[in-house]
Amino acid sequence: MGGEELVRLLTPEGERVEHEDYESSLSRDEILGFYRDMVIVRRLCNEATSLQRQGELALWAPLQGQEAAQIGAGRALAPQDFVFPSYREHGVAWTRGVPPADMLRIFRATVTGGWDPNRYRYSLPTVVLGDQTLHAVGYAMGVQRDGADEAVMVFFGDGASSQGDVLESFVWAASFQAPVVFVLQNNQWAISEPTSLQTRIPLYHRSAGFGFPGVRVDGNDVLAMYEVTRRALERARAGEGPTLIEAYTYRMGAHTTSDDPTRYRVEADVEVWRHRDPVERVKALLARSHRVRAARFAEIAEEADALALVLREEVLAMDAPPPTAMFDDVYAEPHAWVEEGRRTLSAFLAEVAS
């Protein structure tokens, strides 16, 4: 899986392995913290799927299978770093402190964003594939000009890797030596299209053609993800330029709740990846090597259940905004046509109501 160059520190069976370039510096409590993160985001994700099935969300994009890629990368970030997600990075959002209910506002279709990106230093979902890679490079050029000790991390997928904007962002990041870390989550499927349709070479090889390093990581190994991203972020902050990290992983669920993966992939493949589960391997490590007791795991599961319940309540309490909210924040300064629309709709609604 993933070839010989795959960076891995933890096997699917939960065995620690050595790597000549990377070693894990994590303590037992830190690993347990990552495990807790992964259990919680998986549980919240499942709750969101249920909410969609019950008609409470317009759509949901499940992250199941990609918890290690997201928690490892997210926990490697420093507080001052800035992150640009695509739309499936609920795990990274969790590490940045974005309230789970806010992550679901866009999927409940009450807003088109969901949170203040500057507060969490975590930007908003970008649905047009790859657009955010250019924003990340531009932001990083701003960091350079400010002389700030910050790095920028941007997420995209194997499908988006075919987008012109992503490739342009590689050109710019290289030309300007921007302090940016590209995290490509290769989850093997762009809705129904396999990665083989997007590329004839391993995706992490692409960076070499642009003049910066690329690394392929076992995206289901949270220890490896953490160490590789941490080093790439340090490299960026030190002014040594961009890095491409390919997190080799698998989308265990559907692309979104509107998708039907049984039409294009075989269950046997999913089963193979089920044995590489990112959460179970950390649990095995913690139980075997760090003597974490069953009761502690049960506590974490209960905590996740409780958070899911809170999330459900918060989502159900989320009402549609007033119709005139569509006119808010379109511009930073008032615009006559927007205000004309506000007056027209308000007058119509007032007349209909009376």
């Binding site: 964003g113 250019l134 924003h135 932001y139 050029m141 701003g142 904007d165 030309s175 300064e333």
Partner: protein, 326 residues
């Protein structure tokens, strides 16, 4: 008061913008040592450095996309798109991102971004160098669009656009770059989006913007010799449009003619005509009318003078309009 070309006025305006705010940057192809293909940024990189006046790799989507990222970081980037016809690779970043991020972020992101667009034709260029794409951007909520027509406006409007907190598509009529005019270095002529009456008149209101303001003024001079007093309004703001100024004029003259270099369908002229007939229906003595280019791709430039409205074609339209007397 001093006299200079529009190209020089833009250069001086950009220089003031760079001087007044250290967060102002410039980004575009060949804008450094070369000073841009039209020399609008001439000397700015030398004086403000390569970190502020940045030669961009040749990728328009990236030029706009990275400027959006810089805006998120608090910078105000003035983008130069080399020619109108090269803006389309950046269309997605402009309409899906720059236009929507203030809304999507509920006001957290301010899109301080100016996209300079040398537009319109009349310079005998090859394909893709003479287009009028302004309607695409006027149609998109979240963007603002302006067009300058004189050196004085160019000098002031570019500074006002840079200081504005919304993304501004700044249309520069390239055929007028080398024409000279007076520039008042002390006082701005009007607000960024205000329409300006360039010539008062009583018989017919002519609305134009960009290159067509001069064409309309020339037509008004000829018409005056024939005893017709045209009021010529320079629209300047295309989104928003100062329709109050246009409506007040049409209320007096009873006739409206919009002159534009763009093709007619779903154009800026369409919007002016529609809005004015809604507002001034009972004051109109003749159908509100457009003189435009045609619904064809910009032609080979040997025949562009028949594609773009000429003084004679404007006068021809005026003759037809004046025959109405309801």
């Amino acid at each position: 008061m001093t006299t200079m070309t529009m190209a020089k006025a833009l250069n001086e305006g950009l220089r003031r913008a760079l001087e007044s705010d250290k967060h102002v940057l410039m980004l575009g192809e060949d804008i450094g040592k070369l000073g841009g293909v039209f020399r609008i940024t001439d000397g700015l990189q030398k004086d403000f450095g390569e970190d502020r006046v940045i030669d961009a790799p040749l990728a328009e989507s990236a030029i706009v996309g990275t400027s959006i990222g810089l805006a998120m970081r608090g910078y105000r980037t003035v983008v130069e798109i080399q020619f109108d016809g090269f803006v389309y690779p950046a269309f997605d970043q402009i309409v899906s991102q720059a236009a929507k991020l203030h809304k999507r972020s509920e006001g957290a992101y301010t899109m301080g971004l100016v996209i300079r667009l040398p537009f319109q034709g009349g310079i005998g260029a090859i394909e893709h160098h003479s287009e009028s794409p302004e309607a695409y951007f006027v149609h998109t909520a979240g963007l603002r669009v302006v067009a300058c027509s004189t050196p004085n406006d160019a000098y002031w409007m570019i500074q006002q656009a840079v200081a504005h907190d919304d993304p501004v598509i700044f249309c520069e009529p390239k055929s007028r770059y080398w024409e000279r005019g007076e520039v008042d270095l002390d006082n701005p002529p009007a607000g960024l989006f205000d329409a300006v009456v360039r010539r008062p008149g009583t018989d017919l209101t002519v609305v134009a913007y960009g290159s067509m303001v001069k064409t309309a003024l020339s037509a008004a001079e000829v018409a005056a010799q024939e005893g017709r007093e045209l009021e010529v309004i320079d629209l300047r703001g295309l989104s928003p449009m100062d329709l109050d100024t246009v409506a007040a004029s049409v209320e007096r003259t009873g006739r409206l003619l919009v002159v534009q270099e763009a093709p007619p369908i779903a154009s800026v002229g369409s919007e002016v005509v529609a809005a004015i007939q809604e507002r001034c229906f009972y004051s109109l003595r003749a159908p509100a009318t457009r003189v435009s280019a045609f619904h064809v791709p910009y032609p080979a430039s040997k025949i562009e003078d028949e594609f773009r409205p000429s003084v004679d074609r404007v006068l021809w339209a005026i003759d037809n309009l004046m025959e109405h007397d309801s």
